[in-house]
Amino acid sequence: MTFPVLSIIVFTPIVAGMILLAVPGQRKDLVRWIALAAAVLALSLSLYVYLTYDRALAGYQFVETYPWIPSLGISYAVGVDGMNAPLVLLTGIVMFTGVLISWGLDDRPREFFAFLFILATGVFGVFVGMDLFHLLFFYEIAVFPMFLLIAIWGWQVTREYAAMKLTLYLFIGSVVALVGILAMYYASGLHTFSMTALEQANFSVGFQKTWFPPVFFGFAVLGGIFPFHNWSPDGHVAAPTAVSMFHAGVLMKLGAYAALRAGIMLLPEGAKFWSPLILGLGTVNVVYGAFIAMVQTDFKYVIGFSSVSHMGLVMLGFATLNREGLTGAGLQMFSHGVMTALFFAVVGMVYDRAHTREISKLGGFSKVMPLVAVAFIVGGLVSMGMPGFSGFVAEFPIFLGLWKAQPIVAIVAALGIVITAAYIMRVIGRVFFGEMPAEFEGHIPPVTRFDRVALVVLAGILILVGVLPSVIAPLVQSGADNVLRLLGGA
């Protein structure tokens, strides 16, 4: 395989972003079409990678390695295995739908798409990275555009606060992880940042126990782990729609994924030692996040806290350190990414038309925008883990794994599902059914063609995975096996 498809995926967005910056800012339609073209290219390439990944062979594929800073053993190294191939595809999907959803954005779209694409390059770069320095480099590229995207195009009321809070939280997490990574680099004595080489480093058990928390939790901040989840609902709510989709749909996976790769895979003994703590915190995420979501009066905050709750399941899946749990966590990352992108897209469409997100002031939207209502219900069913939808495919193995690892956690975390059902039902009932307030009658414009395409794509994927789990589950399982190899079959 000499065609550098992963590198092209990584650099397509940023190159498109640079091209956008060179286009005159007034030519907004040209800007949008360039953005869409880049998104389509990235999506088709990531789909190509996903479909041509050789499942029988498993392991890392499409690998490219170039020396970057040879004197320190740093290389530009990319590759995919069963764990990240779906995440690359997810990023492509969210990027594509995000551009469609943002079609109507009128304030400086050139800068908006340029920053969004820099972010996308960072995300792709982390997901395919096989070198710790490379990973961190792209990780931070993904962080700072968030600040501008939220601060400039976000919701006026909280955007400054939320943007600053989010950026500082994530930066703190990443620099703490940086210290851990440097410690690993020098302790290994291998003079390399390559993750595949560091897997064989045989760090002492004491070292692993000491350095696991900074590395794992440093990245898990972006995964929204309790008690460092606080930035996330605020950030979700303040962000413009496409950015919320990226943020909840992809960025939180970035944190979880980096925590898995750098934390659990490189410091497996540390992971075993600290897994009870992660189980505990993850349970808090699931249950507490769901409770908080239930009492929100703002539509978008409900979804924001639901992400905290669902990401808790990913953390729980990681902490089981067994095959079922890890597979479930991998599936949940994909499924939740698509689902939450769908949710935020819907919230954005409702807000753009109603100019309020107060649940008590909304109602009856299924009459004016039936497709949106259907899409949201699909997302809701996924969220509740209904069989036939992707949520079930993801959550079922997580609970299987949890039962094997720690039955009590499985029982408590299952509460989260019940509460999720409650708040999802409540939102569906209040927002989409019931009486429509008189002020909205006749004032709700229909959704655009681009919006419909985005919704159909997202909802379609959720159903496809639910009905035909074989399109993704075996792949993720091979990725989980790649992790388990290092955990000594624990």
Binding site: L21, E140, L148, V179
Partner: protein, 483 residues
């Protein structure tokens, strides 16, 4: 050890200095002839650039060369690297000065700038106490004048005065330290002196006291806590191109002598002095960053940020290793190009808007998207975000600290980076988010400034993305101090 006094090949060691001297004279002559007022800046900038190129080709240290001119100078990787850095700063500063009123058309302004650079080049190579002192003064005196160059501006005069008083005081203290050192060892050559001290005949307590005196002089140059008090006022009052120059070239020159001095005594400095330097680094970073939080004037903000950056760079020195020194050199290069870019924008903005208040930067992204983008790059690089120079530079110094077992110092560094990020983002927030009544007034960007800014931005991204060759260069530089 016998020190060769002269042979013709030594000219290469002082090539940039000789050429700078000629350039200074030429600028004065052209000014006297009264020809081409605006051409003076171009002439100086082109002169700097030409000297830079000539130095790169003919001024390289060869393996055989070490001490030259009777041990007055040392022609090695370090002096070469720093000279290149100073010449780069000089060229950019000239470009930035061209359109500054009451500054950009004055021959003596450029001549003083060139002479200051000459002094810095000597500082980079000085390996003898007398030479070192002369070089420092050759640098400082023109800078005092330049800081107070705007005679009608109270702030500029205050700036020059303050700079002079602080500078004169600290350099007197430092000279006293030098004299004690000479008295105790009978040597003025740095490396011979170090050998005597290694002989163990000088009491450690005495040396400690002397080191404090000398550190005051160097600390003033790099604006390290507690010798930093002059920084904000001088930066604020001085003509902005000079602020840019003081904050980059002059600081780098301070580091050049500090590094040479500390490493000359290497086997004797650790661990006690390493702890003192670590404490200074910690205090410098922390204080600089915390005080920057409260600033409302962009020049003062950059002043405190430059203090903080001296602290980060010191981490590389504290590591007392080859890689640590390399990371310091790399850090300085990254910092220099970034800060020059930031000041280029400050100058351009002040030219159009007549203000240095951060609040007045509101609407900049609508007035001039290009400048706003430049500000974004500069601020994020200062904050240490990839893919920019500041990120790799920070990773290198922190890595050097971890390599030397100073994990706590790396932790202090990253915590400071967080504080730093906060105030850099605050600036960007004003630039991108806030609106202003003036946002329909575009900001004119003359070609010279565009050239300077573009050079810096390309350098920032280049250092950040393709850092391997530059790091290799920094490592070779560092090796010359450890051989």
């Amino acid at each position: 050890m016998t020190l060769p006094t002269y042979d013709p090949s030594m000219i290469g060691a002082v090539l940039p200095e000789l050429l700078l001297l000629a350039l200074a004279g030429l600028v004065m002559l052209v000014d006297l002839a009264g020809r081409g007022r605006r051409g003076l800046g171009w002439l100086s900038a082109a002169g700097f650039a030409a000297i830079l190129v000539l130095t790169l080709y003919f001024g390289r240290p060869t393996a055989s060369q070490g001490m030259v001119f009777g041990g007055m100078l040392r022609h090695d990787g370090t002096s070469f690297a720093f000279k290149v850095l100073f010449l780069f700063c000089g060229a950019i500063t000239c470009l930035l000065s061209l359109d500054v009123p009451r500054v950009g058309t004055r021959g003596e302004y450029y001549s003083l700038l060139i002479v200051a650079t000459l002094g810095m080049c000597l500082m980079a190579g000085a390996s003898d106490l007398i030479m070192l002192y002369l070089a420092i003064e050759t640098t400082s005196i023109p800078l005092y004048v330049l800081a107070g160059f705007l005679k009608d501006d109270v702030k500029s005069v205050e700036s020059g005065m303050k700079y002079f008083l602080f500078g004169a005081m600290t350099s007197a203290v430092m000279l006293y330290g030098f004299s004690l050192l000479y008295g105790a060892t009978g040597q003025t050559n740095l490396y011979l002196l170090a050998e005597v001290i290694r002989g163990g005949q000088v009491s450690a307590l005495f040396l400690g006291g002397v080191a404090v005196l000398i550190l005051a002089g160097f600390g003033f140059k790099i604006a390290a806590v507690p010798f930093h008090f002059w920084t904000p006022d001088v930066y604020e009052g001085a003509p902005t191109p000079i602020t840019a120059y003081i904050s980059t070239a002059s600081k780098a020159a301070g580091f050049a002598v500090l590094v040479r001095f500390v490493l000359a005594f290497l086997p004797d400095v650790s661990p006690y002095w390493s702890a003192v330097l670590a404490a200074i680094a910690t205090a410098t970073m922390t204080l600089g960053n915390l005080l920057a939080l409260a600033q409302t004037n962009i020049k003062r903000l950059l002043a405190y940020s430059s203090i903080a950056h001296a602290g980060y760079a010191l981490i590389g020195l504290v590591a007392l290793s080859e890689f640590g020194t390399a990371s310091l050199v790399f850090y300085l290069a990254a910092y220099v190009v970034t800060n020059l870019a930031a000041f280029a924008i400050v100058i351009l903005f002040a030219r159009s808007a007549g203000s240095d208040r951060i609040a007045d930067y509101a609407g900049l992204s609508r007035r001039s998207p290009g400048l706003a983008l430049g500000m974004l790059v500069a601020m994020l690089s200062l904050a240490g975000m990839p893919p920019l120079a500041g990120f790799v530079a920070k990773v290198y110094v922190f890595a050097a600290a971890v390599e030397s077992g100073l994990i706590w110092l790396a932790v202090v560094g990253v915590l400071n980076a967080i504080v730093g990020l906060y105030y850099y983002l605050t600036v960007l927030k004003v630039v991108y988010l806030y609106r202003s009544d003036d946002e329909n007034k575009p900001i004119a960007v003359p070609r010279t400034y565009a050239l300077a800014l573009l050079t810096c931005v390309v350098a920032i991204i280049g250092l950040g993305v393709v850092s391997a060759p530059w790091l290799g260069w920094a490592v070779r530089t560092a090796q010359s101090l450890f051989s």
